[in-house]
Symmetry: C2
Subunit: 636 residues, 2 copies
């Protein structure tokens, strides 16, 4: 096992399933033992999909969030808001969550235990492909096809496959029910009457959309601007798996950048245009190629990324993740395939991080067009729109489409409304073409999206004309570009990327280390008196006071444990620096990964640690300006 | 109205109800207009008791929380944790919330609208006392007595009063149902089966208690230590009133300090012992006196405050609130009366802040003894205890109480269990006295708390002996001292205490100002070019960049609005400093409350603002080291 672990740790990227499992187990053991996280309500046997952050985990999380605020909210002057988790039904009805935020579920028909239908089918296919050596080539191809198209299967198709393959409930082997949709929102009731249904929000974004009008006003009625929100979101998963990656309650950090759909350029795009990193465009995925390093400027120029603003955020997300300590070689931006994207989305890229579970979606960056604001405008009757005021009135030729309702009613009866709406929603070009066709042929086939079929429109049913008008402003629904961060997933991947093992000095055991950058490290510094003695303790306590005053989180360890053991303990928490008090005038400062030590006057210790911690100086810089220290007692 | 407002603003303390209302309206108008907060889901007509923090409010909140972390978690080396909001029923059953976290509700018998029974009775009494001039002295006394004892009334007593006074539903005047308890927790269901009931946590504390064992281990199995948590909590209020003070979802910051019940001294108590502030001990309340300024050291020495640790936290809370900008004259620490406290609590003090709604409980500081850990130990079967290891084994005489269950069963039948538990729970002294009495008189009256009556214990029913034992450690359930902060309430009171009005320079209108200290201010600085011109704009943008790099939140305003109007806008957001660019080499920095201005070189502007903002220098210090500036253009 030790060898496997080592292999996994050094080159986890393409390790086998076994070494990946072993690597994950080593990380997770360290995380749990040192209380980075704790299964929630453990003394009551826990609840699947709920985890606590213990002290170091909580600290990592608050460091990540503080950096997020600095990197996005402060740098980009975003409007941060903070909305409740409890959300009335009408809001989530408008957003589509009440009707569509579902997973397909099957039940063990005897015990009532619930499973995700797609998970069972996926497990069956994987299992068969791995273990059934006698499987035919066609069969294998069939199963692989199912795995590739799993997300596209309808309830009926899933049910048919489950029956066809004779899949039964895990453990009990009982028959399974047909798949049916289960809404993933936690339901509750607001107030005592029982008449106001509500849900725990499945995302924080809706809180921003419903406030668009006020936020636009707050921003001086100017576009573009971005609003941001950090908060808890909830998904009542059917049967959570994948540990910290698939949980029922999690922290999201979301940005909604509102922009004129006719101008998605970004004034600061040039600042990120030269960044190069792994991108995985739609085309490469479809043609079976792999992700490749692309210059962001090129991706936007060639239209691979839909627009500059989307590109700008991709660049900023890349910088954010890299600064946190995510390994760039295991970070890629993958474009959604056409079938993955919501129908209204213009383009969508996920920042995926490779972990022992495979490539994990950690940040979604989507151009959601005007969908959300339109949905809330329709449901609430409040126009969530922006206006561009013209410096002088413009004469415009406006397309006027006038459906003749009487004729349409006679022809289409109950479907009249759908046809009218579809006619009114025609784009300029489409309308002129229809006008032409109607004039030449008298009638035309017209596809009505909401009826999923084409109907025949006759000349008498619609008039299409041009009108000249003076306009003082252009009123429009802004597009929204949404970078949405799963904070817990990012942190878990960061744990895996930061973890490594190294032999103890005596070589008799493997020690765990997290190579967190100071920005992320839960504790920035530990202070040890080398031996237990009153003078050293006093020095240690004085340094501790200075560190507190400087706002540097630290730990003082005055136990008599060997210095090597004390270093090992703090390496396991990813503490980047250790101050060892071995005299009353000067101390040593040790850097975690190199184990290099410098000698510094007592009075300078706290400031030096503050400077390297806050990135004012690098360790290299510090290393070259102080005397070096090599001690037999170190790391023994 | 203007005059009333002025009166209210200058001396809000004891203004009449009218001026208090007017003052509150002025504050709330400013807060809502500038998006400090927004009624949640406003475009859907909102939900009572749910509010969003808009950009400046969100920023104030995150400043308050960052300072809380610095002042408590970092300074005291607390173990911060972060637990989910969704909580399984068993945890809240153990804590008592499932059975007891209720308010008494009455229903309009025709419309079904729900009301808090005590609110209706309170409104009735207040109304009668204020408006019924013909009321008799006895009647008035009776109503005042009801108001004073409102919290003690049982469901039956409340119902009887409502019937006696003929109180009907507000608005409809329909008859009301009898009062019945409504549980204030939001209920939900965890997972798809419908078999795992859960609730949204009503406080964050339980997440800490259930983790006691792991946290104690993390702390090296040493007491005392404190754990802390910041997070959302939820109360499904029957009919929320009092705006931002009584809400259905709110942020709590809670500390659970675990301590040996036999030693509640605190090593750092001397650091707060000399603080003096308004305290309102139980005795003063009972005897109709008012709160008085007491030195904290004295309050602890005289036993007014139960112990040093409780006293230490009272002192730290005082410092915290004062640093935020809470007016010390409108802050008091009120001790709970015996009937207010939970039966297990050793002592409890509320930090109350005076607002236009009266004195508001914003922080509760309670010595909850061993109640919570015991409750979870009982329910989970996991011992949440600490141990004091003896350096050498101690010979101890142990009290052994052995109830003779057979005899007790015969005598007390169904109540046997209560009697057995009460006997076993006797303290040393009480037990010896019982032994004496049983030996001399053969029987003794014994009060059983859980039966609310005394029973007769005979000699045959219990044996009480001493046993000598060698013990290596003392195992005990720690006491917990809990400071619990209602962050939203503190922030609202801070708004009221920070708000004032002053005339514009022309004297033609009243301008709103929030005198937030820089620590709290949502934006630390604004940057204005005095006039619209390219050179000035460039300087402004350069300064803005330096401020961003220094992590100082700021706003740049390049609109052509008059400088006076721009100052007024930022005063309304409580921005403490404004940099006005009126040359390309030097700029002015204006302090919000004094309106004093200094002249500073362009290159020094950002650092100077950073220093005064972060408290490295005071404004007085800065004022004395830079040339002063007086300009005709200022504040016009």
């Amino acid at each position: 096992i030790e060898r496997n672990l080592q292999a996994a740790v050094s080159g986890a990227g393409d390790g086998s399933a076994v070494t990946k499992e072993a690597f994950r187990q080593a990380v997770v053991n360290t995380l749990e033992r040192r209380l980075f996280y704790i299964p929630s309500f453990k003394i009551y046997r826990g609840v699947a999909g709920l985890y606590d952050y213990g002290p170091p985990g909580c600290s990592v999380k608050s460091n990540v969030l503080a950096f997020w605020r600095q990197h996005f909210v402060l740098e980009e002057n975003m409007l941060e808001v903070d909305c409740p988790c409890v959300t009335p039904e009408i809001v989530l009805k408008a957003s589509g969550h009440v009707d569509k935020f579902t997973d397909l579920m099957v039940k063990d028909e005897k015990t009532g235990t619930c499973f995700r239908a797609d998970h069972l089918l996926k497990d069956f296919c994987n299992d068969k492909l791995q273990k059934d050596l006698a499987i035919s080539a066609e069969k294998a191809a069939e199963l692989r096809h199912i795995l590739a198209t799993l997300d596209d299967l309808s309830s009926e198709e899933l049910g048919a496959k489950i029956r066809e393959y004779g899949i039964t409930a895990p453990d009990t082997k009982n028959p399974l029910s047909d798949p049916y949709p289960f809404n993933l929102m936690f339901a509750t009731s607001i107030g005592p009457s029982g008449l106001s249904p509500g849900y725990l929000r499945p995302e924080t974004a809706q809180g921003i959309f419903v406030n668009f009008k006020d936020l636009y006003y707050y921003n001086g009625n100017k576009l573009p601007f971005a609003a941001a929100q950090i908060g808890q979101a909830f998904r009542n998963e059917i049967s959570p798996r994948q540990g910290l990656l698939r949980v029922r309650e999690f922290t999201l950090a979301e940005i909604e950048h509102f922009v004129d759909p006719e101008d998605k350029s970004h004034p600061k795009f040039s600042e990120v245009a030269n960044l190069k990193f792994l991108m995985f465009p739609r085309e490469e995925q479809m043609s079976g190629q792999s992700a490749k390093i692309i210059r962001l400027g090129e991706a936007v120029a060639q239209g691979t990324v839909n627009n500059e603003t989307l590109g700008y955020f991709i660049g900023r997300v890349y910088l954010f993740l890299a600064r946190l300590g995510i390994d760039e070689k295991r970070l890629r931006f993958r474009q959604h395939l056409a079938n993955e994207m919501a129908h209204y989305a213009a383009d969508c890229w996920d920042a995926e991080i490779e972990s022992s579970y495979g490539w994990i979606e950690c940040v979604g960056i989507a151009d959601r067009s005007a969908y959300d604001l339109r949905a809330h405008t329709d449901k609430s009757g409040i126009a969530l729109v922006a206006a561009e005021k013209f410096s002088e009135p413009r004469e415009v030729e406006k397309l006027v489409i006038t459906p003749v309702k009487k004729e349409l009613g006679l022809a289409f009866k109950g479907s009249q409304k759908n046809v009218v709406e579809a006619l009114e929603a025609m784009k300029e070009e489409e309308a002129w073409q229809m006008k032409d066709n109607l004039e030449t042929k008298g009638e035309v086939e017209f596809y009505v999206c909401t009826l999923s079929k084409a109907v025949t429109i006759k000349k008498s049913m619609v008039t299409i004309t041009k009108e000249k008008k003076k306009e003082h402003q252009r009123v429009f629904t802004p597009s929204v570009i949404e970078p949405s961060f799963g904070i817990g997933r990012i942190i878990y991947c960061l744990y895996e990327h930061s973890y490594y093992m190294r032999p103890s000095k005596a070589g008799d055991e493997q020690l765990n280390v997290f190579r967190f950058p100071p920005l992320v490290a839960p504790i920035k510094c530990t202070v040890f008196p080398l031996v237990q003695n009153e003078q050293y303790e006093k020095v240690a306590k004085d340094i501790s006071k200075s560190l507190t005053a400087a706002g540097i989180s630290h730990k003082i360890d005055i136990t008599g444990t060997s210095i090597g053991k004390r270093y090992a303990r703090t390496d396991e928490l990813g503490v980047p620096f250790a101050i060892t008090v071995d005299s009353t005038t000067s101390v040593t400062i040790r850097e975690r990964d190199s184990k290099d030590q410098i000698r510094v006057n007592v009075g300078e210790a706290a400031t030096t640690v503050k400077e390297v911690t806050e990135g004012i100086r690098t360790w290299e810089d510090v290393w070259s300006s102080f005397p070096h220290h090599s001690s037999a007692s170190a790391d023994d």
